[in-house]
Structure formats: C-alpha cells, structure tokens
C-alpha cells in the first residue's frame, strides 16, 4: 500500500508503523536473538514456578496451566506491555532540546508521540510474537501454551489486550512529559520502569501477591496493563470479574490519556515561553 492511498489524517501514523516494521525486518538476526532469549526466559521462569508448585500446590493461586499461559503470553508480547520497551529517540530528543524541531511540525505532538511509541512496540512485537506462540503451543503439557478457556475468554482477552496496550503507551506518555522537568531523565526512567515492572505483574503474576497487598495493587493503573488480558485469556479471571476488570482498564486509559494531554499542553506552553 503506498502512502498516497492512506486517508489523509492517518498518513503520518501509518508511515511510522511502516518505517518501523521495515526497519525491524532489516535485522533478522535481532529477531532471532530475541526469540531465543524469550523462549529461554519463559522456560526457566516456568521451571521456577514448577518448583514452587511441587513445594505446595495448594498455595498456588491459579492452576499450573494457567500460569504457563500467563508466562508464554508475557514473553510473546514483551514489547507491547513492558514500560521499559521504549523508543529512546524521544527521550533523547527531549533531553537534548531537539524537541524544538518537533514543535515546528504541523501535527499534534501528543498524538505523534503516542503513535510513534505504539508503532515501535507493535512492530517489534509483530516480528516476535508468532514464533514464540507457535513454539510454546507445540511444547508438551503442562509446559505448553494452551487454547483459551472459551471463545469468549479469547475475545475478551484480545479486547483487554488492546486496552492494556493503550494504557501502557498512555502511561509512557507521562514519562515523556516528566522528562521535561527532571534533572535526571535516566534515573527517573530506571526507577519508574523497575516500579511498574513489579506492580504490573512483570516479575511475578499479581495473584501471587499476598492478600491485602494484592487488592490494592489490583486497583492501580499498572494492573490494567499486562495483568488483565493475560489473566482473562488463561481463564483465571472469569464471569462478571471480566467486565469489572475491563471497566477498570477503560477508566485508567481515560484518566491517563486526559492527564497526559493536559500536562502536555501545559508543558509545551512552558517550553515555548521559556525556550526549553
């Protein structure tokens, strides 16, 4: 599809996605390397949980196959849901003051950066998810990826995945904005990435947290990232809980989006007035 055929308003966003994807294709060794890493990583993580399962199966907050599904989905969609999987060019562009050029372009900066980050994540996930899912599905039970509990679970998981992905990008937008203000963009990024990795269920799935802590963490925006879709797909969140989970995702998406836009407008006004 050539650029000219795209509807006018979509053009820049579409171009970003296309460039990113083509760029990613150039590096097939990188794709292969990533695949091997994710496969190994997922495998070892599952081995670890298998050991815990052996030590006390009753304490497991979900079934073992559900956990296995969670881990493989996490590895397959790593690029979509982890806060640290970012387009670092934008950070560099803010810290180096290059952002002034971006402001001269005839587009809405929030939308542009949102699209760029999303494109970056989508393109790297597109190359990697299929092989990881495929290989994981071929593994023998109980270590392999299994089909979702029902087609409803699949559809809801998919929808929730889209929401979760948007929540991640909307959250990263706040990180971009914070870069304008902080003295140590790197320190901030490291701290926020570490924190969000834990709170989103990137290190251990949130159901493994003890009572009391879990209920609080579940309400935070981080739980609306990878935690929601993976649990819905694997069937450890079912029934009406699916609806409330997705409602919470929509809520956080709306809040993060609005706050992001508002702060962005204020920040840019400040940048224009003070000249960076």
């Amino acid at each position: 599809m050539s650029v000219q055929n795209l509807p006018r308003f979509r053009r820049p966003y579409g171009i970003f996605l296309r460039i990113r994807f083509l760029n990613g294709l150039q590096y097939r060794a990188a794709a292969l390397g990533g695949l091997v890493t994710q496969f190994f990583w997922g495998g070892l993580t599952i081995c670890l949980y298998a050991a815990f399962y052996r030590s006390d199966a009753a304490a497991f907050p979900m079934t073992f196959p559900q956990l296995v599904n969670y881990i493989w989905l996490q590895q397959a969609f790593l690029a979509l849901f982890f806060v640290w999987q970012n387009d670092n060019e934008i950070f560099d562009c803010i810290s180096s003051g290059q952002v002034a050029y971006e402001l001269c372009r005839p587009w809405d900066l929030y939308g542009m950066w949102f699209a760029r980050n999303a494109a970056h994540r989508l393109s790297s996930a597109a190359l990697r998810c299929v092989p990881v899912l495929l290989v994981a599905a071929l593994l023998p039970a109980p270590y392999g990826l299994t089909a979702p509990a029902s087609w409803q679970a699949f559809l809801c998981g998919l929808l929730s995945g889209v929401l979760g992905f948007l929540v991640v990008v909307a959250f990263v937008m706040l990180l971009y904005i914070a870069t304008f203000y902080t003295l140590s963009p790197l320190g901030l990024r490291i701290a926020v990435s570490a924190l969000s990795e834990f709170l989103s269920g990137g290190l251990i799935p949130l159901p493994f947290l003890p009572d009391g802590v879990r209920q609080v963490v579940n309400l935070l925006p981080f739980a609306s990232m990878q935690n929601a879709p993976f649990l819905i797909y694997s069937g450890s969140v079912t029934g009406p809980a699916i609806l409330s989970t997705m409602a919470l995702q929509c809520f956080w998406l709306g809040i993060l989006f609005l706050v992001g836009r508002l702060l962005m407008r204020r920040t840019l006004r400040r940048v224009v007035v003070q000249g960076g």
Binding site: G34, F40, L44, L48, D56, S184, L186, L188, L203
Partner: protein, 259 residues
C-alpha cells in the same frame, strides 16, 4: 598498568561527578531496580515457605551473592557490557591506535559508578540475610563467601567478554546473550537446582554460574556432601579461558574486516 588503571579510575570519577544531582538520582533509581526482585522473593516465600529444601533466608543469601557479583562486574567491566556502542561509534579503532592491549583498554574505558545503587541494595540484603543466623560462621566460611563473590564477579566479566567478542562479528542479534548476563542475574537468585537437573548441569558445565552459588552455598549451610564444595567457585574461573580466546579471535576478525 595499575597506575594507568588508577588514572582512568580518577578521570571517570571526575567525569561522572560533573553532574552530581543527576548522578545521585540515577544511583537512587538503580537502588530500585533490584528491589522488585527482592520483593518477588519475599512474596513468593510468604506463600510457599520453601522451595526444593531452601528457605527464605537461604535464597536471599544466594540472591545477594549473585547480585553483588553482577553489580561489581557492571561497575568494573562496563566497557565489555556496552561494547556494541564502542564498536559502532568507532571508539575501538582509537584503542587500536594506542600502544596498549585492546582488552585492557576496553576495561579502562568505562566504569559505571551509578551502579553503586544496585550494589548498595545487594549489600543490604546480604547483611540482612546473614543477620538472621542462617549460616553458622567460621573463618573458612567467610573465605568461601568472599570467594563466591570474587569468582562470581569474574564469571560475569567473562560473560560480558563473550558478549563483546560477538560484537566484533555482528552487533545484531546479540540479545540472546542476555540469557546469560541479565538472565544469570535474574535466575541466579535461586540456587540452580530449583530449575531441575538438566538446567543445573547446563549452569555447571557450560555457563558455570551454579559454581558460584548452589555448590558453595551448600557448604555455607553445612549441607555439602564434601568439603571440596568450598573450592568449586574457583572452577568457574575456567570460563575465562575460552572467553579470552574468543575475544582474541574477535579482535583478529575485526582487524581483517574493519567494520
């Protein structure tokens, strides 16, 4: 050579202190990176109490040893860890123009003091784990603990060197090395026996990370079948032989391809 290293050390320190606030904030940020890993262990043990016969304090000790080794290696051997950038910016050409061994020059070129944050965190966890009285101390055990950390640091340095050597051939597709570097740090928090016999064997004979944690840990906990387990960390140093040879091969390739 030590004098030259000292000089590089001083210049790195002065360079990084130029941006003091940013430096301190980055150190604080680094402090948090491994806190999540600690919390994960804490919460998992709150639920399961033991894994493969290891209790919380014992796993914590393992976690602290590996994390200390990794952060030390990251501070001292950062040049190898970030070698892809050194190659792609053409800095390595510069090293070859100087009358020093390229390996020594790479060692000198980066020292990442902001990783002190991670180191501090690892130190605190270790202090806590030891204070619980999980180990009955004597001088030999103190020596073994030190040996674990030193050999662990050098083993991670060896892994960074392997990564760097790959960079001479291609700087793409090296993500798989993360399995052993970052993966070694993440999965090495638990004694490798937890992951099953085959994985333990892999991390004993191929990438000898288990030599600096599982086996000597058994010695520290008085569970080793033989006192020789105390010296197993030295075996990990054998890894430095192939990694150095691979580095040499890489330099030779670089000089003939010039890319």
């Amino acid at each position: 050579m030590f004098k030259l290293y000292g000089k590089f050390f001083a210049i790195h320190l002065r360079s990084q202190m130029q941006y003091k606030t940013s430096f301190i904030l980055t150190v604080l940020g680094q402090c948090l990176t491994s806190f999540g890993a600690f919390l994960s262990i804490y919460f998992l043990f709150a639920r399961f109490h033991q894994v493969e016969g290891f209790v919380f304090q014992e796993v914590l000790l393992c976690h602290a040893v590996v994390l200390l080794s990794f952060s030390l290696a990251e501070i001292v051997f950062r040049g190898f860890d970030t070698f892809a950038g050194i190659i792609s910016r053409g800095e390595f050409d510069r090293f070859l123009l100087e009358p020093r061994s390229p390996m020594f020059r790479t060692l000198c070129t980066r020292m990442e003091f902001s990783r002190l944050g991670r180191l501090a965190e690892a130190g605190i966890v270790m202090a806590y784990a030891l204070s619980t009285g999980v180990v009955v101390w004597n001088w030999a055990k103190a020596g073994v603990l030190l040996l674990m950390i030193v050999c662990g640091t050098l083993l991670f340095a060896g892994l960074f060197t392997v990564y760097a050597s790959f960079c001479f051939f291609s700087i793409q597709g090296l993500e798989f090395m993360n399995i052993f570097t970052d993966g070694g740090r993440e999965f090495g928090q638990y004694p490798f026996t937890v992951y099953g016999r085959r994985i333990l064997r892999f991390f004993t004979y191929i990438i000898p990370l288990a030599c600096v944690q599982y086996y000597p840990l058994l010695y520290l906990l008085d569970r080793a079948p033989s006192p020789w387990y105390a010296l197993i960390p030295l075996g990990a140093l054998l890894f430095l032989v192939p990694s150095t040879l691979f580095w040499r091969l890489g330099v030779r390739h670089y000089k003939s391809s010039g890319s």
